[in-house]
Symmetry: C2
Subunit: 419 residues, 2 copies
Amino acid sequence: MRETREILQAAKAAAPVLAAASAETKNAALEAIASRLLSEQDAILSANAEDMARARETLGAVMSDRLLLTPERVAGMAAGIRDAVALPDPVGQVLRRTERPNGLIVEKVAVPLGVIAIIYESRPNVTSDAAALALKAGSAVILRGGKEAFRSNAAIANAIKLGLSDAGLPSDLAGFIEDTSRDSARELMEAEGLIDLLIPRGGAGLIRACMERAKVPCIQTGTGICHIYVDASARQDMALDIIENAKTSRPSVCNAEEVLLVHSAIAAEFLPKLCKRLTADRAAKGLPVVELRLDSRAGAIIPGTAAGERDFDTEFLDYILAVGVVDSVEDAIAHIGRHSTGHSEAILTEDDGAAARFTQAVDSAAVYVNASTRFTDGGEFGLGCEMGISTQKLHARGPMGLEELTSYKYIVRGNGQTR
Amino acid sequence: MRETREILQAAKAAAPVLAAASAETKNAALEAIASRLLSEQDAILSANAEDMARARETLGAVMSDRLLLTPERVAGMAAGIRDAVALPDPVGQVLRRTERPNGLIVEKVAVPLGVIAIIYESRPNVTSDAAALALKAGSAVILRGGKEAFRSNAAIANAIKLGLSDAGLPSDLAGFIEDTSRDSARELMEAEGLIDLLIPRGGAGLIRACMERAKVPCIQTGTGICHIYVDASARQDMALDIIENAKTSRPSVCNAEEVLLVHSAIAAEFLPKLCKRLTADRAAKGLPVVELRLDSRAGAIIPGTAAGERDFDTEFLDYILAVGVVDSVEDAIAHIGRHSTGHSEAILTEDDGAAARFTQAVDSAAVYVNASTRFTDGGEFGLGCEMGISTQKLHARGPMGLEELTSYKYIVRGNGQTR
């Protein structure tokens, strides 16, 4: 097994080659990686079969499905890499240019970060998705996946390394960490001087550990206790559609709705419609029914589970929705301020003043008016891709596309200026 | 003494008022603060006299001078605040706007960070400078200065609070930490949920402590081991001017030059001129002479101290310059890669290829061609102001102006879109 530190040092040593590479070179490397993923498909699928055999004993059906690779999924990974080829190169863009009165020309230019490390969990496609974005952004990438997908990830990483070599670039630009114990995660968190950005993608425990222990720059991603507030003026038919979509279209993702707040002026009319839509109507269609966890005011209007102490502070990631009644947009804003994780929140309203107040005061990465929180995504926002959703305020907030995976430097050209 | 935690909670509670304030309101508050600094001048000067009386016993002349306030310096502080009034308001700027095919309008809008805390050392004018920038950027500010300047800082903070109240804003928007022990610094570093950005301004020990302990977002500032590389093709007269300026115009600041690298092809010709310029010529004018610490190749050409093991890794902040001889721009780049703190580096050259190679490969916040490193400064770069120089790559790099003291959020407007 290659030592983690050795892999990091090799990536750091190789990074300047990629930082200096043209968009054409980087795109040729991504094409070569996509080709290798397809040509190495048998090796990848057989490694995945080994992972799956072990996983069936320990993981549930949902987790097993996340782990599973098929020829279609491998083709999807290759297609994802080719999508990254099509994106504009963020590196070298002149972000600002000023000529100073003394003749100095000050340019703020986008540059690669250097080495980007990702700690992720079960889905093996993250291996190729993350590598493609980091490499396109001009950085070496360090991949540290979960234990369950180890063989699959290793086979995918091997195809990535082969593709880099095919394109004449150092294969060390993609470092694959073979140690899947907590030790290696900790080693990455503490690898000062070797990692320029660490992105933890996974459960709350992993993200918490990074925030507490990381000595390298780290971006907090993911946890989303997303709120939708239905204002008194909301179009109720639209509200039902949006709420059902935000809760049920993919309940396991971070931009799914977890909490619904309804203005008291319409609660008696709206909540029964909501209850019907999320329970009886769905049952009639054979769809999973949403469990409603109700505060006392909502519980006085519709049937459901009485909300417990933690229900307004839980990322359910399931067919469960906490429902509360509030008396004004200000109360909704205050509730969100106390309970939100700063990911995505929506107001449904026909009142422009309420919308303005909400979008100004809610301090989250994405604030919606009359749309589903499910749109918080790099592709949906027009960034073309994403490495995750940042819930912090420094550097990047919301979906992180290629631009958010770069830094910048100032290049100053003079003709002898002194100060 | 008011508890640190209580001050932080009050600032966080007050922050939304400022975040929602118009540019006019913020500017009126800054004007009121400037007026109060002038009207409270006697109180400020007498507090400073107390600090000075204690400082004379313990601090040297340079440190005492940094601590000293005079009517002129107080007027300068007020003028600095009025300069911030003149700067454009960064908050609310639409940084990007996209209309998506499904009709969603996605706006990326600049927003205040919330609460910005600054830990600083002896100079009391930082109290008003930092407060003015943070408040103009729409954030509450927490000020935690050094022990030596405690009375001066308290008097200045009082004037700031009076100014905020005069303008009808909560005085808690400027929190002054009365505890100057290490405990309060640590409390700020660990105040998760109460501080959105912590900026340590001070010595390497403070910055190191923040990087290791901070659980709140923190920006690394300041340490500058700045290099100048004199290429074989450099105009030597210009090089002498730039080097003397970068080393001697203000040796105690982070953008001063600490290391000079000279191409071997011109070393025998250039180094004697350099030695004369930095020693004999300066002595003849009664100026402080620069001590040269020479690697073995430079030492074979000119007289000076033989460089010790640490001399190429030391921020001297003094009239001392480490001098080495290299064989190519690539060797200079490699040396800088090993020894730089990522602040500012310059190449002096008439060769465009060498300049391009240097500006591409040197991974520092500011990279110069034919100009002094002393220009790394918010004002000199055209940002109008600065809170410090970031030597990290995430969020902000180089001088941090108002824009770098904000974050952004996505505001998404729809008409019922679901996904």
